[in-house]
């Protein structure tokens, strides 16, 4: 009896170790980035998509949606790797320094255009150290408030916060977060300076908004739509030119009388500077194909967003967007006097 139970215990241990090494292997193969390869046979090894944010976040989700259809079009394998830290600048810096062979690709969002204004020692220049592959999607943001907050419309909100600037609180998910940027833009559009309340991430900020501890905030529709449709928070407007399908009753900022408040969490794909043009072109073509994939369109719709049009999924449109955004945010961030480090 004793021997059997000992054997069983040993077998259990072996099984446990087996499963664990499986996990370790899954974690490990994320790190395989390639050395020198010729662009003629591109791709002849795994392509790594670097996501500079945590797994499970909106940017990560978008990347993983694209990985499979893009790999199919390219005829290779795409591995997604999360390199987190310092508002996405750690991952972006790593890709800027990677071999320009097309096997290390960066998926980054609006943070690419705000980092130069926020971080003093960035270590890379967005326009000079990367080749743009194309835009991917623009996630709309929503202006939301605790449900018992007095103002009924966006116009009321602007009037109210101007009259009560010393009382109103504006939450955000930390310095450089999309909610922080949108909050800055709101203050600049409304011409008012408000008390900001930073949180460590969207979760705690939204928790305090639902609990009525803070007055209002502006965050990605992905995070807010569940609370809006359940009536836990009040929605004033979406910050894009068009309404969001999942929130048909929420007006746009233009409709609601604050057209200057235009902001979306736009995503784009980058490769290091010096990547052969034909490789960039191949990636851009694969991106376009993936964005036209019905499955991708459906999955994005569930996130409250949609793929960009084919002409925006190009290096040219992407560069134009990045240049325009760098200018916008440099001014907004400098005016607000914000520094991340």
């Amino acid at each position: 009896m004793r021997t059997t139970s000992r054997c069983r215990a040993a077998a259990r241990m072996i099984a446990a170790i087996g499963v664990f090494s499986l996990v370790a292997a899954c974690a490990g193969n994320g790190g395989t980035t390639g050395g020198g390869a010729t662009s003629g046979g591109y791709p002849d090894q795994n392509i790594t998509f670097v996501v500079p944010f945590s797994a499970g976040g909106p940017t990560d989700t978008v990347t993983r949606m694209l990985a499979e259809p893009m790999a199919a079009k390219l005829g290779g394998k795409v591995v997604v790797q999360n390199v987190e830290g310092a508002g996405g600048t750690v991952g972006a810096g790593e890709v800027a320094r990677a071999d320009p062979d097309g096997y290390t690709v960066l998926m980054h969002h609006i943070g690419m255009s705000t980092a130069p204004a926020l971080y003093q020692n960035l270590g890379y220049k967005p326009l000079e150290d990367f080749e743009m592959v194309g835009l991917v999607t623009e996630v709309p943001m929503t202006v939301v408030a605790r449900k018992d907050f007095a103002p009924a419309t966006l116009k009321d909100l602007v009037t109210h916060v101007k009259a009560n600037a010393d009382k109103v609180t504006l939450a955000n998910a930390g310095i450089g977060a999309a909610s922080h940027l949108c909050g800055l833009l709101f203050q600049s559009a409304a011409g008012v300076k408000l008390q900001e309340v930073p949180y460590e991430g969207t979760g705690p900020a939204l928790t305090d908004l639902v609990g009525g501890q803070v007055d209002f905030m502006c965050d990605q529709t992905t995070n807010t739509s569940g609370q809006i449709s359940a009536g836990e928070v009040k929605a004033y407007a979406v910050t894009t030119p068009e309404r969001v399908k999942s929130l048909p009753d929420v007006p746009t900022t233009a409709e609601a009388g604050l057209p200057q408040l235009q902001v979306s969490v736009w995503h784009g794909l980058y490769v290091p500077k010096g990547t052969p043009q034909e490789v960039v072109q191949k990636l851009s073509e694969a991106l376009k194909t993936a964005l036209a994939d019905q499955k991708v369109i459906d999955q994005m719709a569930k996130l409250g967003t949609a793929p960009v049009t084919a002409e925006n999924a190009t290096p040219q449109a992407h560069r134009a967007k990045l240049e325009e955004q760098l200018g916008t945010w440099a001014k907004v961030i400098a005016d607000a006097g914000v520094k991340a480090s």
């Binding site: 499970g56 999360n82 310092a86 836990e232």
Partner: protein
């Protein structure tokens, strides 16, 4: 009756073959990452999340949840056996658990942890099923002012963690709080105490401090003494808790479960307080107060139950409101979204099979954890017979690997060496690492909520007294301080007398 229907729906979902299988995979992985210091449930869930994209939503969530509470379960094992806590909650278990192991009672300690966790898990699952939505509403009453007062209360009652004087414990808590301030400030972005070291911008990792202060310092202390060098334990007494042990476990398990279940519901970090507070409460109510810190089974059973109950009920805000209480929960929000489910208050009504299936799976997961862990106890205990000169390099090796895996950064490995030496010096000075670790964990929470409460009130400190919940918590803090200081003076006299005998 509605509850029974719901539970029936839940169990019919959770008992599907693939769901039971992935529940098992989840708790198994959780146990493993809990046992290994360094790699924690957050990293594991982040790594495995993409794999679950192809699963059914409920299966994916069952597995991810299993990793989380499985890790809470597994974390106690290394804390008890080799004084190497991988999670903040396990640091408390190490206090008495490892002492028990040194006395040859590792089996009893491991069994107490397993049984306590199972009972706590079962009760917490029932609480979740019966009262999740109203509990979540109560939790929302807690704003920054309430969290500040709660954390302050937690810190004060936890002076009980110390074996020595209250003054030294307070000093250690303060040192821990200071260590916790290292890194970039959340509110202004200003780097604090980083000395231009890039690695310090993100703060010091808990694992580096815990592994260094407990594990490495313990090894240094063992090596100085010839007699204890042969093995951790000379002889292993009974593997199972004795009848006396079982009698002593009941109260702590029940109190720990209640306390943990209540604290776990609070999304702003209540689960962090659970095991510390339970230990403090048990030490306060026990008739054998002097045994605490020297292998009291209550000090293992209570905190472990509290910790597991809190791990379970910390799902309340996520499931009922779509609000994550913990980085692991935030990742699970991602899992919801990927599967096309918008996390929010509508999940219960829109996806009843998912909601109740997940809750039912937690109980099944707890059963699986007991079945998995009880048979392993004999194996673990046998590990302690390995000669110490073989065991300690292995412990250091695993600690170094685990810490390195945090961010593939050599800095974290140097950090365990630094904290090991610091821990050794502190032990030599009669200061203990547990209160320091507590200050390190709770300090940032304390500061964050203090400043946030004051930002919202525009610098008016009276919010802490005008908000009723906060005022009650502060009153309790003052009471706890008085109770802690008065008997400490009286007890010292008693101890002097007993030593004279």
């Amino acid at each position: 009756m509605e509850l029974l229907d719901n539970l029936a729906l839940g169990f019919s979902t959770a008992l599907l073959v693939q769901n039971v299988l992935y529940c098992f995979v989840g708790v198994l992985l959780g146990t493993l990452v809990g046992v290994l210091p360094g790699i924690g449930p957050t990293a594991t869930v982040a790594m495995l999340l993409p794999i679950t994209f192809s699963f059914e939503p409920v299966t994916a969530l069952i597995m991810l949840a299993g990793i989380y509470y499985g890790a809470q379960y597994g974390g106690s094992t290394t804390a008890i056996l080799i004084n190497l806590p991988g999670e903040s909650s396990a640091a408390v278990t190490a206090l008495d658990g490892h002492e028990m192991a040194r006395q040859g009672r590792a089996g009893a300690a491991l069994a107490a942890a397993a049984i306590g966790s199972f009972i706590a898990g079962t009760v917490a699952t029932v609480a979740l099923a019966v009262a999740a939505p109203p509990l979540a509403r109560v939790a929302l009453q807690f704003g920054p002012a309430e969290y500040f007062s709660l954390v302050l209360l937690g810190l004060i009652v936890s002076i009980a963690l110390a074996r020595g004087t209250a003054l030294k414990a307070l000093a250690m808590i303060a040192l821990g709080v200071l260590l916790g301030t290292i890194g970039q400030d959340l509110y202004t972005g200003t780097p604090r105490f980083v000395f231009d070291q890039r690695e310090l911008y993100g703060g010091i990792d808990f694992v580096s401090v815990a592994v260094g202060m407990f594990g490495v310092a313990e090894i240094l202390r063992n090596l100085e003494n010839e007699q204890t060098r042969t093995a951790i334990v000379g002889k292993v007494k009974n593997l199972w808790p004795t009848r006396e042990d079982r009698r002593r476990m009941v109260g702590p398990i029940l109190r720990g479960t209640g306390l943990g279940a209540a604290l776990g519901v609070l999304p702003g970090g209540g689960h962090v307080l659970a095991s510390f507070t339970s230990y403090a409460v048990e030490k306060r109510v026990s008739k054998r107060r002097q045994e605490f810190g020297h292998g009291a089974i209550e000090g293992v059973a209570g905190p472990e139950s509290a910790n597991n109950a809190a791990a379970q009920t910390s799902f309340v805000p996520l499931l009922t409101l779509g609000l994550p209480a913990h980085p692991v929960m935030a990742l699970m929000v991602g899992a919801f979204i990927v599967h096309g489910i918008t996390p929010g208050p509508n999940v219960i009504t829109d996806e009843p099979a998912l909601f109740w299936g997940l809750i039912a799976s937690m109980w099944i997961g707890n059963v699986l954890l007991v079945l998995l862990n009880l048979p392993l106890i004999g194996l673990w205990v046998r590990m302690l017979r390995i000669p110490y000169q073989v065991l300690f390099p292995m412990i250091i090796l695993f600690a170094a690997i685990g810490t390195y895996s945090l961010g593939f950064n050599a800095f974290d490995v140097y950090a365990i060496a630094f904290f090991g030496i610091l821990g050794y010096i502190l032990i030599k000075c009669g200061c203990e690492p547990a209160p320091l670790l507590l200050g390190f964990v709770l300090g940032p929470l304390l500061e964050e909520n203090l400043r946030r409460a004051l930002i919202i009130s525009r610098g008016d400190a009276s919010v802490f007294l005008t908000r009723p919940i906060s005022a009650v918590l502060l009153a309790l803090t003052v009471a706890a301080l008085v109770v802690a200081v008065l008997p400490a003076i009286r007890r010292r006299r008693e101890v002097v007398f007993t030593e004279d005998d």
